[in-house]
């Protein structure tokens, strides 16, 4: 289904009311990897975390249906939610990682709405943990993690110590579909609720969105008869 993206009349952002939201595809891959690691008995517990308004609990339930053990909903709404970006989220994740004594944080490499590709890296920096980003293969080996990363030149293999942050790239795995019996079981799993302030995180953003515009409408092309015509037109409109 193609949802048409529309800019709000006041150009402050994109219309999100009434638009169906679902788990970011790279985060689905991250959840799948975590659940696989648990199925291989390499990790003990998987906690699914999401930051946002009440609706994000539906996404957490999907993660629980995929096999996560429990969820944490960090409630952010209104102006704070509109201004929320990778920096605020990574502060929240860093605080939670310490609180939960996590050994691994796995996230999608980027969200497909803002394409920032920053949260994983910032979280690692705030925690001073090693990071294995753009992971297409993850192997746990004792207290270390071997990560094969997708880079422009090909594949890079690194070994990092835990605790660590990993971000999932497309080829890491194929996420499972949530099945009905698992969706029913997920309803009984716990989702804890808290606010950023409970974690000592302030949500103030240093970024102000000035304006959001749609890309300009593509104009019809013009056919010309000869190469000379083409050159003349390109000169006339200043292209050459």
């Amino acid at each position: 289904e193609n949802t048409k993206i529309r800019v709000k009349p006041d150009h402050s952002g994109v219309v999100t009311d009434g638009v169906k939201h679902s788990m970011n595809p790279f985060c689905e891959i991250a959840v799948e990897e975590a659940v696989k690691l648990k199925e291989k008995k390499l990790i003990k517990e998987v906690v699914a975390v999401s930051c946002g308004p009440t609706q994000v609990t539906e996404t957490i339930r999907t993660a629980l249906a995929m096999g996560c053990d429990r969820g944490i909903h960090v409630e952010v709404s209104g102006k704070d939610y509109e201004a929320m970006g990778p920096l605020q989220i990574s502060k929240i994740f860093a605080a939670l990682a310490k609180k939960e004594e996590a050994s691994l944080i796995i996230l999608g490499k980027q969200a497909i709405d803002d394409d920032c590709n920053q949260t994983g890296q910032m979280t690692a920096a705030l925690l001073d943990w090693p990071q294995g980003t753009f992971a297409s293969e993850v192997t746990i080996d004792g207290e270390k993690v071997k990560v094969v990363r997708e880079i422009d030149g090909g594949l890079e293999t690194i070994k990092i110590s835990m605790p660590a942050v990993l971000t999932a790239d497309l080829r890491l795995n194929t996420p499972r579909y949530a099945t009905l019996p698992n969706i029913m079981k997920a309803k009984k799993k716990k989702i804890a609720n808290m606010k950023p302030a409970d974690l000592g995180v302030d949500m103030v953003s240093r970024v102000e969105v000035l304006r959001v515009d749609e890309p300009p409408t593509r104009l019809a092309g013009v056919k010309v008869e000869t190469v000379d015509d083409l050159v003349a037109k390109l000169r006339a409109n200043g292209t050459i």
Partner: protein, 461 residues
């Protein structure tokens, strides 16, 4: 384009907007062909309605001016169904692309024609539900209803006929009807004539489908796939029949002949033994899978089948099935530069060994390239005829072969088209299959619903 269009085109624009009408040559050509070998027959104009009200308004204009109406979904049909033989107006429905009214607890959903099967399943992925009818292409669901599509897992989940609960249809005169009553979606009904299944498979000749209500299923908890090789076609098909008779709810059971396997090996650099092969898939809980697989393996081994090659997780299953999914391209790769045409006969299960053996003999005798892939669980198989379109002799030999094959199927109590539809090329065969009296009834229905013969003229009947 002749006169008269000067009045009609502005009328179209006032219904679907300036951008909703195109006379461009490239656009018309794109809407005059599908994925069959039939040549492009472009319409005179393409329109993009955005709602059922616009479809109705456009149909009224066409009805008034005696203009043919050709509905267009994704253009992925295989029988030339979208060719505008008498010109006319192509109603491209891709801008009506909403998923409406999902009822999770009732296992039903309604979709507009622009929603494709992969699009719907992507939309549904958090719900634990899916729509399993899979004809291969990422086709429009309303288009699949129009052609009564089927696919690789019909053996377990049925075809479109079993899975369409209701249709919203715009008739040639612009009337909007709901074949099971507006908004109704009971799982079963015995109310009145079955109008829903009259329109399913009507290939755009009775009306424009603007909404379909579909039956959904729970996503299987687990899936397992396997490949098994056999010493003969008979052994493979006997195994299929016995698996079904034992009541194993097998999800997919696909047959590939030795020529097809060889093509797949070459194309995907695999090394399956070159022999009649079955690709199997089982859906269910972990426990039920164990049972299904054990029973099936006993049967295949009793028929001389090899040990199973297995796949459990999504990635390995994907690789295993890739061989089957790429069959079309693997066949084409046997003779680069050629085109391919797929036959589509379907016979009762018990007749399958006979028809496949006779068909392979026919292929060899007539020096034709026709690797076979089929949904044997339904008695349906496809010969992918690879031919050089410039070799007139070969084109004729292929055409005559497909006619012989269709008649062979009819002689064995089968049908000339299991899932692709009649379209342009099988109208004469349809008459042979149905007999003159049934055809008269069909013609009567067509005349009642479309007296001016505006709806996709020249197809089906």
């Amino acid at each position: 384009m002749s006169g008269g269009w000067e009045r009609v085109i502005p009328a179209f624009r006032s219904v679907c907007g300036e951008d909703g009408v195109s006379l461009g040559e490239a656009v018309r050509e794109q809407h005059g062909r599908d994925e069959s070998v039939h040549r492009c027959r472009p319409p005179d104009v393409v329109v993009w309605p955005r709602s059922v009200e616009e479809v109705s308004a456009l149909a009224k204009i066409c009805h008034h001016h005696h203009l043919p109406i050709i509905p267009f979904g994704t253009g992925t049909g295989l029988e030339g169904g979208v060719g505008a033989l008498k010109g006319g107006v192509c109603f491209s429905l891709r801008n009506m692309d909403r998923v409406l009214d999902l009822h999770q607890e009732d296992f039903d959903v309604s979709v507009e024609p622009g929603v494709t099967r992969k699009g719907l399943n992507s939309y549904l992925r958090d719900t634990g539900l899916w729509f399993p009818v899979d004809p291969g292409a990422d086709a429009s669901l309303c288009g699949m209803a129009a052609t009564s599509a089927s696919g690789t897992n019909a053996v377990r989940y049925g075809t479109m006929r079993e899975n369409v609960l209701n249709l919203e249809v715009v008739l040639a005169d612009g009337s909007i009807i709901h074949t099971a009553g507006r908004g109704r979606r009971p799982r079963k009904t015995s109310a009145g004539y079955n109008l829903t299944n009259l329109f399913v498979g009507s290939e755009g000749t009775l009306g424009v489908i603007t909404k379909t209500t579909l039956r959904l299923y729970g996503v299987p908890e687990a899936m397992v796939s396997a490949v098994c090789t056999f010493p003969s076609v008979q052994a493979a098909v006997d195994s299929t029949v016995q698996v079904l008779q034992t009541g194993v709810p097998i999800a997919r059971i696909e047959f590939l002949d030795d020529v097809m396997i060889d093509a797949c090996n070459r194309f995907n650099l695999l090394s399956y033994p070159v022999a009649p092969t079955l690709f199997l898939e089982f859906h269910g809980t972990e426990k039920s899978l164990e049972e299904q697989v054990t029973v099936t393996e006993e049967i295949t081994q009793a028929n001389g089948g090899s040990d199973f090659s297995w796949a459990r997780d999504a990635e390995t299953r994907g690789r295993l099935w890739k061989a089957r999914h790429d069959a079309w391209y693997a066949a084409l790769a046997l003779r680069p530069g050629c085109k391919a045409y797929s036959t589509d006969v379907c016979v009762p299960l018990s007749r399958l060994p006979q028809i496949i053996v006779e068909t392979k003999e026919d292929l060899m005798l007539n020096r034709l390239t026709g690797p076979i892939a089929g949904h044997v669980g339904d008695g349906n198989f496809h010969c992918i005829m690879v031919m050089d379109p410039n070799d007139q002799d070969e084109v004729i030999r292929v055409h005559e072969f497909t006619e012989r094959l269709a008649r062979r199927a009819l002689a064995l109590d089968g049908t000339c088209t299991g899932e692709h539809g009649v379209g342009l090329g099988k109208r004469a065969l349809l008459r042979e299959e149905m007999g003159p009296l049934a055809i008269e009834v069909m013609q009567g229905l067509k005349t009642t619903l479309d007296p001016k013969n505006l709806m996709n003229p020249g197809k089906v009947l």
